[in-house]
C-alpha cells in the first residue's frame, strides 16, 4: 500500500493527512509540536515528533520508501526550504511543497521540489470566480484556452432537449454530463434527494429544473452561457 508523509501540521497539513488516511493511504505525520502529533495520532498510521530541518532525523525515518512527501510547513519559509533541500539530498522521489509566495516558490523550484501548491491562492481564485459567477459550481482549466465547467443550467434551457438547446452550434460548447437531483421520501417520511450523474447525455435528454450541466469549451464561449 502506498505511503505518504506529511510534514507540518497546520490547517493545510492536517487536512491533507486526514483525507489521505480516509482514502486508505498509510500516512506518516511529522511535526515538532507534540500536542499536534498527539491530536492526529489516532487518525494516521504513524505520527512522530521530529524536526524536519535535522537531516539525521529525517534519514532515520526512511522517507525514500514513500510514494510522496508533502511539505506543509506554512509559517516558516526557512524551515520549508531547508526541509525540501534535505528531502532532495536524501533522495525522496516526489516532494510536494506548500508555496508561500512567488519568491519562495522560485527557491523551491531551484532546489528540486517536484510540485509546488498554493492552497490560499487557488482558493482565492475559486472564491473570486464564485462571487463573479455564482452559477458556476466547479471549474477545471484544461488548457489556457479550454475549461471544463459545472454550471447551473440556465432557466432558458429547462424543459428543452439538448438537441433543441444546440449549444454546440450556438456556443461551440459540448455538454458532457448532467448532474441531476433525484428527490425521494425516506422511511421516516422525511424528504431528501440524491445527486445522479448522467455521463454523455443523449441529444433527446430533457434538461430539468435544478440540473447542473458539465460543459467543455473555450472560456469566452462558456462565459456567454453562464450569463444566460
Amino acid at each position: 500500500m502506498e505511503q505518504i508523509a506529511v510534514i507540518g501540521l497546520g490547517t493545510f497539513g492536517i487536512v491533507v493527512a486526514k483525507e489521505l488516511s480516509k482514502k486508505g493511504i498509510q500516512v506518516l505525520a511529522i511535526d515538532t509540536n507534540e500536542q499536534k502529533i498527539q491530536e492526529i495520532s489516532s487518525v494516521v498510521t504513524q505520527a512522530v515528533v521530529s524536526d524536519s530541518t535535522d537531516e539525521k532525523a529525517m534519514r532515520e525515518l526512511g522517507l525514500t520508501d514513500f510514494g510522496a512527501v508533502v511539505v506543509a510547513i506554512g509559517d516558516n519559509r526557512e524551515a520549508s526550504i531547508l526541509t525540501t533541500l534535505i528531502l532532495k539530498e536524501i533522495g525522496v522521489k516526489n516532494i510536494i511543497v506548500k508555496g508561500l509566495d512567488d519568491l519562495h516558490a522560485k527557491v523551491l523550484q531551484k532546489i528540486g521540489a517536484d510540485k509546488i501548491v498554493f492552497p490560499e491562492r487557488d482558493m482565492g481564485e475559486k472564491l473570486s470566480e464564485m462571487l463573479v459567477s455564482p452559477n458556476i459550481i466547479e471549474k477545471i482549466e484544461l488548457s489556457p484556452d479550454y475549461d471544463m465547467v459545472e454550471v447551473i443550467a440556465p432557466q432558458s434551457f429547462i424543459d428543452k432537449t439538448i438537441k433543441d438547446i444546440d449549444v454546440r452550434a450556438k456556443y461551440k460548447l459540448h455538454i458532457i454530463g448532467i448532474k441531476r437531483k433525484a428527490p425521494y421520501i425516506k422511511d421516516d417520511g422525511e424528504t431528501d434527494f440524491k445527486e445522479e450523474l448522467l455521463i454523455a447525455p443523449s441529444a433527446s435528454e430533457i434538461l430539468q429544473d435544478g440540473d447542473a450541466i458539465i460543459i467543455i469549451g473555450r472560456y469566452a464561449d462558456i462565459d456567454k452561457v453562464k450569463k444566460l
Binding site: Y184, T191, A212
Partner: protein, 93 residues
C-alpha cells in the same frame, strides 16, 4: 411508510404536506413549494413545511433560499438533525 409528523397538525396541513412531497418527488418543484407555502399560511409554526421548502429550494440550486428555510426550521425545532445537516453543507461546514 412511517410518518413522524406530529399529531397536533391539522388534517389539512398533513394533506397539503403529502401533496407537496408528491410534487417534489415528481420533479414539480414550483408546485411543491406552493403546497408547502399553503401550510405555512395556515400554521406558521409548522417546521415540516419550512424544512420541505428548504429541500425543494436546495434541489432547485437556490442555496440562499434553502438556507433561510432550514434556519426557520431550526428556530422551531432546534434539534432537527436533517435541517442542521443540510444547512451545514450549504454554509460549507
Amino acid at each position: 411508510m412511517k410518518n413522524k409528523m406530529p399529531k397536533n397538525f391539522s388534517k389539512e396541513e398533513i394533506d397539503l404536506i403529502e401533496m407537496g412531497k408528491f410534487y417534489f418527488i415528481s420533479g414539480k418543484y414550483d408546485e411543491a413549494i406552493a403546497e408547502f407555502e399553503k401550510v405555512i399560511k395556515i400554521n406558521p409554526k409548522n417546521a415540516d413545511a419550512y424544512f420541505n421548502v428548504g429541500m425543494v429550494k436546495e434541489a432547485k440550486n437556490d442555496s440562499s433560499g434553502a438556507k433561510k428555510m432550514y434556519e426557520k426550521t431550526l428556530e422551531i425545532i432546534p434539534d432537527h438533525k436533517t435541517a442542521k445537516k443540510h444547512l451545514d453543507k450549504l454554509v460549507g461546514l
